[in-house]
Amino acid sequence: MKILLVEDSERLRLAIRTGLANAGYAVDAVPDGRSGLSYARKNPYDLIILDIMLPGLDGLSVLRSLRQDSVPTHVLLLTAKGSVDERVEGLRAGADDYLVKPFDFEELLARVEALVRRAFATKAPVLEFGDLRIETASRRVSVDGHEVALTQREYRLLNYLAHKPDVVVSRIEIEDHIYHEHALPSSNAVDSAVCSLRAKLKAHGYGNPIETVRGEGYLFAPEGR
């Protein structure tokens, strides 16, 4: 899952970006509204976390521009001002959620997860495919109750594919959603991650849930569906 963070405070940007990355998200972080708008238009994000009071172009203007351009990405507004009027204005401008600074990081994570689930039309925080169980809140993956130790990259890959079962997903799309902009993955990075993931799941007695669709990409077709 890939998130765009638009926040002018350098320290807050660092904390949120690090926290979200640790939670298994690929994060692009920019410090102002114009960059945020440009990034959001160019890249397919699963969620945008947008500060309202930004230098240059403010968050609400960015949001309105995105909605005018029909960018459907869910937007979580972040601001130091939390009056009812401001929240209503933000939600009416097209935001999907609102969080007032200072916030509890766990709450931010929970809201991010909820919005990501909504983006994939899923309501449950736990994805289950037979013996395979993915707990998105704790990033815990298990097969038949036994935890599978995954790297951040493998988890992101599994999480993304698990949100799009029975849909062929291209390598580029996978790259777009599991790597942040500065990651510069190698040409076979996705293939390598898929191999590694398959091996770990197989080692825990779970059959191959990721099929290769030649020339197109990968298809998540797990057991027990």
């Binding site: 320290r11 807050l12 904390a15 926290g19 009071m53 230098p55 130091a80 001002k81 600074k101």
Partner: protein, 472 residues
Amino acid sequence: MNSIRTRILVFTLLSSWALILVSALVWYRSAEGVLVSQFDEALAVGAGSLATLMTTTDHGVELEFADELTPEFRPGPEAAYFEAWTADGEVVERSKSLLDHDLPFQPGKLGVHEYWNLRLPDGRAGRACRVGVEVLPVEAENEDENPPRPTGVVATIVVAEGRGRLDRALAALWYSVLVVGTLVAFGNLVLFHVVLTRGLRPLTRLGHDVASLDPADLPERLDLEADRKELRPTVTGLNVLLGRVREAMEREKRTTSNIAHELMTPIAELRSLTEVALKWPDKTDYALEALRGAHDVAVHMNGLAETILTLARCQEGSLGGVEERVDAGAAVEAAVRRHEAAARRRDVRVDVEVEPGLAFVSDPALLDVVLSVLVANAVDHGPPGSPALLRARRAGDRVVFTFHNRVVDLERADLEHIAEPFWQKSASRTERRHTGLGLSLASEVATALRGSLEFALQADEFSATLSLPDRG
């Protein structure tokens, strides 16, 4: 008696009632005097009539009195009395009504009528008139053209009459005065109440409107009876005051909101930095980064607190007591030097023009604070590559420092708020070095130095003029 209306009503009523009482008494006394003098005149006429009937004969003084012509002197319930005496007190004649009583004798003064009240022989209250008369002998036939005036004798006549009629008239007069006075007094009470209520209605409405003002939603102005001449200054003053209160409240709201915003951001930074570090304690690189960030936030908030403290000290007037001779040029140079690095970084050229030898008496520490803030403002807010000009000159008994610099997005309307604590042109707090306290601090320090700080904007040129008195 806290009510103005009650006070006016009571004082007006008491005054009017006192006037009514005095007028009634004067009126009663005058009427009483008239009635009594009319009564006395009647007695005097009676005495005069009797005097004309008196003559002297060889037998002495006689009064040719005819009872049938003066029935009032006959005995009866409403009888009148008279008695006449010679000068030595010998009774000449008395009315039949006296029976065997006498009226009190005292020789009367010739031609002088004396009146007094007395108890009549029949027990009634009465009034008497005494007059001394000269009784002449009966004129004899005399053919002389100018006969000698006959010599008379002096006699005293007293006429008395019951004063029941007079007293009844006086009582009726007294009651009418009492009734009219009471009616007028009561009428005054009602009239004054109505007049005061109507007259004070604008004042009552003003009081009601002022009392019902909602501090949370003050109106633009009070639309009251400003056409009432007496209320015009009050309403005008209230509207001016209202305008200032609204302005102050708006400023306070903005300041509170700005303070909240100014504090929320560093708190949010601290909280997020530390929460992420605590959630993933094994990420030591991040933990170190978070610690550095937390330290920077603490330093920033420390500076913020110190500035707020200085601001508070300025506002409470506990600063600005020191008086020393200050070299204006050196003070400006020191302030410019402090911001040299920032000016270089932003490529802002700072030119200084100070009147040679300009020195004055002021508080050097506070002067340094205000000059430093103004130099920082010129350096930090001028667009990169733009010039800034600092001038210092003497103007009479004042020293004037002028700071000119270019600005990018400042508008004339912003000048109203520019010295408000925590005000910043940009709603975002990206420039963490700025807190929006600089110019408000400079403004308060200028006031503490008994000077003034004014801002102006001409096109894209911003100027701050600091005018300080030479306290020497």
